[in-house]
Amino acid sequence: YKTFDGDLKWDHNDITYRIINYSPDMESSLIDDAFARAFKVWSDVTPLTFTRLLDGTADIMISFGKLDHGDPYPFDGKDGLLAHAYPPGEGLQGDAHFDDDEHWTLGTGTVVKTRYGNADGALCHFPFIFEGKSYTTCTTEGRTDNLPWCGTTADYDKDKKYGFCPSELLYTFGGNAGGAECVFPFVFQGKEYDSCTTEGRSDGYRWCATTDNFDRDVKYGFCPSRETAVIGGNSEGEPCHFPFVFQGKSYDSCTSEGRGDGKLWCSTTDDYDDDQKWGFCPDQGYSLFLVAAHEFGHALGLDHSSIREALMYPMYSYVEDFSLHEDDVEGIQYLYGRKTGPDPTPPQPTTDYPDTDDTDATEEPEPTEPSTPTTTPVDPTIDACKVPKFDTITVIEGELHFFKDGHYWKMPSKQNGELMGPFSISKRWPHLPAVIDSAFEDLLTKKMYFFSGPQFWVYTGQNVHGPRSLEKLGLPSSVQKVEGALQRGKGKVLLFSGENFWRLDVKAQKIDRGYPRYTDSVFGGVPNDAHDVFQYKGHIYFCRDRFYWRMNSRRQVDRVGYVKYDLLKC
């Protein structure tokens, strides 16, 4: 391994990073995930931690760009240079840039993450069978709205699992329109456009207006790449047109004819000779995770290694089961030392924790007087600090409550308050099941709403209504559980499920119009599969496993931490 001259390194271990923009090649959540995994490669073997910022200046600023992208080292189109990064320091130092003329994937071809449909955002499964025919790309067959879709299992005919593929008709990214879909035709500088365009931009990115008149509304977004779209050339984003004519000869597939570099290309119209519209054909692409892990090595202070198998070797090669080479480990530990302190507590087997079947109320040594139904712990040996993942966390009467398998704990709101519990759910709310997916207290009426599976209960004091089905609230039948609830002013509550959320008008007991919406379109930077969402002391918390992402009132993630240490104070 080699370090930069002077052993350039960060003078702190809590490194921050920020993703400035996204590539149209992959869904933003996949890009976020690839970068997070790439940082984890290094945090696994050092005392370094990496925290993502959503705005402001971070130590490592990450961006995608093409050719001349604002620093002295322009990229060079498809292939060749993939990315570069600067050694640790102020300003541009520490930053990582990725060439967006590359086809960014996870290394084995286009990754198509679906939206909507009934597959909860699963990836497309290629090939998939539809009406007996095999499809290797997204298709608009079977639809009249021209939206491309795919099966998310091998056989749509059998499993009926599907989702919609990236399309500007479905959504945009970046820009200022909150991810709204393109509106065609739209007017830009007095001219009408029927498709995404690069006009008006110098960076080559395709965009569209999200209203019918950009000149008037100035609302726009960037167009996601369809998986069949060509890369580079002069028709980026268009699909190949087969057959096409080149030099008088007809071609039914991509060809390297006419090029000295062997790269496969195609025409995007039926006649290249007439129209001269072309682009490179989609290929396996480059693994954003692997390239990012390499670049972040530079951003932390490692130069190129001469060991071919090392991550810091300058050439790209795809490996399926990546693990950091000894040479890279030695290099980074030379700069920052080994990982110190204990590893995070591994998930505890659920046998540590009494099952609801074993916690028959009649056997538990707790008082049963109705007047004191809530305040006597059932068994102090059941330790909240050993619970790897709570069923739900919510605020009741200003106190944070943690629910798990028939029990709950509460954290007094006063400073330095100690965790109290566990208490039995069945003692305080006798009609509730053991597992509570979500709960909230209506601020106006002080009624408590509890959700479990496809049902909900409403408690007013000790009176209960329910169980009732989620559909009674106006949620679609496809919603099988509500995983988080967030008060939005008096009388409105956001209900989270999967990657979506709905706004409930509590008084009218109806879902407001315009919902569902994508969680990540409104709450950027938090996991879109959070299993607990709640508001506490002015912050919104999204929990996944034992971690939480805390969002401030400006919807910026200002902290990522452990539920165990920060909320339970273990």
């Binding site: 003329d101 580079g232 090029r259 790209y316």
Partner: protein, 89 residues
């Protein structure tokens, strides 16, 4: 009789990839990644000979150090890679 076809190369509009000869590719590569130019301690720049630069590049890449622009070296130069120079300037 089969007559070898002469490949026809065309200039594709909007193509950002420069069509280069092997020698042009090598010189560009050696310069871009720091093998060709080294800053002397006294502060002035001196050009390193192509042979020396090639050897240095071949050593870094784990190739046979021939100092010649042979096929394995050209293949290595055509592989996708990180843009950070191998030899610091």
């Amino acid at each position: 009789w089969s007559i070898p076809l002469k490949p026809i190369f065309v200039t594709f509009p909007g193509d950002t990839i420069k069509q280069m000869t092997d020698m042009e590719l090598a010189e560009d590569y050696l310069k871009k990644f720091g093998y060709m130019q080294t800053l002397q301690r006294s502060g002035f720049q001196s050009m390193v000979s192509t042979e020396k630069a090639l050897k240095r590049m071949q050593r870094q890449m784990g190739l046979e150090e021939t100092g010649q622009l042979d096929q394995p070296t050209l293949d290595a130069m055509r592989r996708p890679r990180c843009g950070v120079p191998d030899v610091a300037n």
